[in-house]
């Protein structure tokens, strides 16, 4: 029996920060997602760390009835199929998964990273703590986006590598960002496998254009959204910040002592804070008042 081989309607190769990513798909949702969010990204220069992703439809009857999307990363299928309507987001989740699981050239931390004045703020927190909402608000208010998902740190020099990609917004944060920044391009609202409503926001053109500019980490902030609370920005001991960063790191331990020392050095040179917030105007003012060195 002949094996099903999809005919790719999408086959692009682009530079995503330090990555050279090839994305293929036979599902129109991926092309639409790329067109809406990735228009500013340059065609691959061939110099980055190569990642190969495909999002393909399931074979057989599933090609026509309740169509599905399958992620293929470097010839393997790490996830179960999802409904085809999630093909574009599946590509994003596949990129996240691949960068988190397979990229060990750099120390990676689950964190958003933004920059102003040549110095970067690492926003490190578990999922659901309001990290992406805060990141989006900062970026669309003028900070440069380095990443919404990963702080990528070069162990050789301690600099952060930009990898600006679409920002994932869930549930109430969608309306917050939509109302505050109506010019921002958002994908159509979808529902993920856990029942959460979400969209992706297009990264600012300027952030994409400056994807090659590495940045010194200056601040480490552990944000937490607490409904109705006044903004609290408290200095925390560096030891606590280091523990939090190692907790949120995907791979420092793969890199052994060099990975640990990289994070310890980043903490040594940064000012470290715990942040509780609910009022975006207030928190943007407080974070904007932090002094660059």
């Amino acid at each position: 029996m002949p094996q099903f081989r999809p005919s790719f309607s999408t086959d692009v190769r682009i530079d995503l920060g330090p990555f050279d990513v090839r994305i293929r798909s036979d599902l129109p949702g991926v092309g639409e997602h790329l067109a809406a969010l990735y228009g500013d990204f340059p065609v691959s220069s061939g110099r980055g760390a190569y990642l190969d992703l495909a999002v393909v439809s399931s074979p057989g009857a599933r090609r026509w009835f309740r169509k599905q999307a399958n992620l293929i990363v470097n010839a393997k299928r790490p996830f179960l199929p999802l409904p085809a309507v999630l093909a574009g987001p599946l590509m994003e989740w596949g990129l996240n998964w691949t960068m988190g699981q397979h990229v060990h050239r750099w120390v990676s931390v689950h964190a958003a990273v933004v920059e102003r004045g040549g110095q970067a703020m690492i926003l490190a927190a578990p999922s659901g703590f309001g990290k992406s909402t805060l990141c989006a608000a900062m970026v669309f208010a003028g900070w440069r986006l380095l990443s919404d998902e990963f702080a990528l740190i070069n162990p050789a020099d301690g600099l952060l590598l930009p990898c600006p990609r679409p920002i994932s917004l869930k549930n109430a944060s969608m309306a917050v960002i939509r109302e505050r920044f109506p010019a921002v391009t958002l994908t159509p609202e979808r529902v993920d496998v856990e029942g959460a409503r979400f969209v992706h926001a297009r990264p600012p053109t300027e952030s994409v254009r400056r994807s090659a500019e590495r940045v010194t980490p200056r601040w480490i902030v552990m944000p937490k959204y607490v409904a109705g609370e006044r903004t609290r920005l408290d200095v925390i001991p560096k030891s606590r910040a280091l523990i939090e960063l190692t907790d949120q790191s995907f791979n420092y331990n793969y890199l052994g002592a060099a990975g640990y020392r990289c994070l310890a050095d980043v903490v040594a040179k940064a000012d470290c804070f715990a942040l509780e917030y609910s009022d975006l105007d207030d928190v943007l003012a407080r974070l904007g008042a932090l002094e660059p060195q």
Partner: protein
Amino acid sequence: MQCSAWSAEPSLVWTHYEDSDDWIVFHPSSGSVYALNSIAHALWQLADIIPASSSDLSVRLAVALSRPCDDAFQAAVQDTIDVMDQAGLLRPVQP
């Protein structure tokens, strides 16, 4: 664990920042990171100088901290040794 003496695991990577008394230690073999207070770190340092039994370490730590080495102190030291043993920060030395 019952053993005659404890020695310090030599491969650890320690970090200390001036803004607190905490010590952070990375265990390369396990890839784990632990936070210790200054007393636990002092205990580890005593075992690093020379392997010693739990009771000897209690006495030496009490002297270093200018504290009485009473039953409560010895019990606290033993609890700390047990935790550091489980974390691989101390090694049992068999006769």
